[in-house]
């Protein structure tokens, strides 16, 4: 309660400041607010680093990195209201709720603020475009590519998923199977489900090793599963023999990379994500690009993003982490 009052006070104070200061500060710097799910999360701190990098490249851009202290939609609404009062030029938000933020963001758009969402999206009417870290086809292709890259002569791979009803994982696996013919010699021998429980995933990984003695790789497109599978492979003394790969977080996978149970894995790069979101926000706010279906918006060193009919687009392939860069990222997220 104290915090909420304080935020209101802050919003009021900043409103007063912006009323007094608008004429003096006008058009000096473009101010882009990077609103995250909550402050103090490594992933978002890294995104802010990327945003600063973009600001440095663009010049005359000021990044306001902000967010609530816990991951709630209400907290973000307060932050948005404060930003409207400050009269920022653009808001790039990773939303805690796709619908709850729409009214506040609509208000921002009415005041001429460019609103985009990234990472975690907002409903269409609340933003001009949404930047996905990656897309389902890109992820599906990446997870099989990670396994295939270390199997030049082909081999057997198995999939360790979350639960059998998990939508994300099922779509990724489906996309993976679509591109399977592009990787000759790679045989997917089975799919098992660890339900995102460490002990069940561990057991399922052990089961895979028993059922398929010639197994070469386990693909786990889930952060709990990949860690458990790597541990099971390591405990079975098969590190180096069976490569555990898929989607995981660098901080959680650092041990597996070190032991050799995993040669490489992928996840989006938060630095690139913050960088791209800032580049897009700048392009839209300055009028250099417009957000409409089919449009291409430049993202500096990340190339450009093409928007689909829901005005959302995918940034890039998931970023690959291996022994060469794990130490740099394991402390970030």
């Amino acid at each position: 309660m104290i915090r909420r009052n304080f935020t209101k006070l802050l919003a009021g104070a900043s409103l007063a400041v912006s009323l007094m200061g608008t004429s003096a500060m006008a058009q000096d710097n473009m101010r882009i607010a990077l609103v995250v799910k909550a402050l103090g999360i490594g992933f978002f701190e890294a995104a802010a680093k990327g945003a600063e990098e973009a600001a440095g490249e663009l010049g005359n851009v000021e990044i306001i990195y902000t967010g609530p202290t816990d991951t709630t939609a209400e907290g973000q609404i307060e932050v948005i209201n404060a930003l409207i009062a400050q009269g920022v030029d653009a808001i790039a938000i990773s939303a805690n709720d796709p619908d709850a933020l729409v009214p506040a963001l609509k208000k921002a758009q009415q005041r001429g603020i460019t609103v985009i969402s990234w990472d975690s999206g907002v409903a269409e009417e609340g933003r001009s475009m949404h930047l996905n870290p990656s897309s389902n086809p890109l992820i599906g292709n990446m997870i099989i590519k990670l396994a295939a890259d270390h199997l030049p002569d082909g081999g057997q791979v198995a999939v360790l998923s979350a639960s059998a009803t998990a939508t994300n994982q099922n779509i990724w696996i489906e996309e993976m199977n679509k591109v399977l013919p592009d990787y000759p010699g790679i045989e997917v021998v089975g799919t098992v489900y660890g339900d995102d429980l460490a002990d069940k995933s561990y057991r399922e990984a052990q089961g895979l090793m028993q059922s398929y003695p010639d197994l070469d790789a386990i693909i786990a497109p889930t952060s709990v599963g990949i860690v458990a599978a790597a541990q099971a492979v390591q405990d079975a003394g098969k590190a180096g023999e069976i490569n555990v790969t898929g989607l995981g977080l660098p901080s959680e996978m650092a041990g597996a990379i070190e032991s050799g149970a995993s040669k490489s894995f992928a996840i989006w790069n938060p630095i690139d994500l913050g960088y791209s979101a800032t580049m897009i926000a700048h392009a839209l706010a300055s009028g250099a690009a417009t957000a409409e279906p089919g449009a291409s918006i430049p993202m500096g060193r990340m190339g450009e993003v093409t928007l689909d009919e829901t005005t959302s687009g995918a940034m890039a392939d998931p970023f690959v982490y291996d022994s060469s860069n794990i130490d740099e990222f394991k402390s970030i997220f």
């Binding site: 089975g190 460490a198 069940k200 057991r203 052990q206 860690v227 458990a228 041990g255 394991k330």
Partner: protein
């Protein structure tokens, strides 16, 4: 004699496990290799440890739903201690885990004993509180494999006479509690308090205090298991062992421990846990649809309970049989 052997729950369960193993062997022969069976036992060890504690609690007509949360909290605390002070020896870590688990068990026990709150309510509450505390102390973050020291992770894997320490801890617990339950005053008190609380009071037993000790033992075992779990899977986060308390209760029920209290043995808890452990380890290798796996685990529990209930029914003696026939 034969009749008694057949109606003995432990023998029945042992038979059921043998049949189960035979069935699995027809689909995957490698499963019953001695090495793999040792593996299954090792994997089931945490369940065995918790099932022993739960059995004692259930004997006194109580239930402890907070065991998995206790395990997770202890696991998180020792993992965080290990990260902050990597030099702390495993013996100290074990002592801390034991003490912390015991403390949490005592909280449950005191609430049941002194405030006379129904155990299911107390432990449902503490279960949520313990999970909440994990979130508070860890900030929702994971403690990962590379942050833990080698010694911390090595203990449950260290082999002694061909068996990992994790299995040895379970075996020692089985042996200790088999003696405690059958040969000590406290052990017999658990049966007396659950079997007939009123009679227990007349014999001079404090029902509440006995229940307190039951919760304390359950907590201590959960604490030890917390360290073993976290070091074995080399990861600690809020949700570890989520829903595991239900497996523990299921193991007890399958092992012939009466939910009404007063009936059950350490051997029953051991076999009940092994029965579940065999199913859990076999399902991944026999290639059954994941949707069927859940149904099969559930059906096994119901069948076991049904068999137990039938076995329990023949206990009463019909004393008016002749009169019944005459009428």
């Amino acid at each position: 004699m034969l009749q008694r052997l057949i109606s003995s729950r432990e023998a029945l369960l042992l038979g059921a496990i043998a049949v189960l193993l035979a069935l699995i062997a027809t689909r995957f022969p490698g499963f019953i290799a001695p090495g793999n069976l040792a593996h299954v036992f090792n994997d089931t060890s945490p369940l065995i440890l918790l099932a022993i504690g739960q059995m004692i609690v259930i004997l006194t007509k109580c239930i402890d739903l907070s065991v998995a949360a206790n395990l997770a909290l202890t696991g998180m605390v020792v993992a965080m201690i290990n990260v902050s002070f990597p030099g702390v020896p495993v013996a100290v870590i074990l002592a801390v885990a034991l003490a912390l688990g015991t403390l949490m068990g005592m909280v449950n026990g005191l609430l049941v004993w002194k405030l006379q709150i129904p155990p299911i309510v107390v432990t449902l509450g503490t279960m949520t509180i313990f999970r909440g505390i994990i979130f508070l102390i860890s900030d929702g973050k994971w403690v990962n494999s590379h942050e833990m020291s080698e010694g911390f992770k090595a203990f449950p894997r260290a082999e002694l006479l061909g068996l990992p320490m994790l299995s040895w801890v379970a075996l020692v617990a089985v042996a200790v509690f088999a003696v405690v339950m059958t040969r000590t005053r406290l052990g017999r008190a658990f049966y007396a308090v659950g079997g007939n609380p009123h009679a227990a009071v007349y014999t001079g037993l404090d029902v509440g205090r006995t229940q307190f000790w039951a919760f304390t033992i359950s907590g201590a075992l959960a604490g030890i298991t917390g360290y073993l779990w976290v070091s074995r899977y080399a990861v600690a986060y809020v949700d570890i062992a989520g829903g595991f308390e239900l497996d523990v209760v299921a193991a007890c029920v399958i092992g012939g421990i009466s939910i009404a209290g007063g009936v059950g043995t350490v051997g029953g808890a051991l076999l009940g846990a092994l029965f579940l452990g065999v199913i859990k380890n076999a399902l991944p290798v026999v290639d059954i649809s994941p949707f069927w796996q859940l149904a099969i685990s559930g059906a096994a529990i119901i069948i076991a309970v049904a068999v137990n209930a039938r076995a329990a029914r023949v206990k009463g003696r019909i004393i008016l049989k002749s009169a019944e026939q005459a009428a």
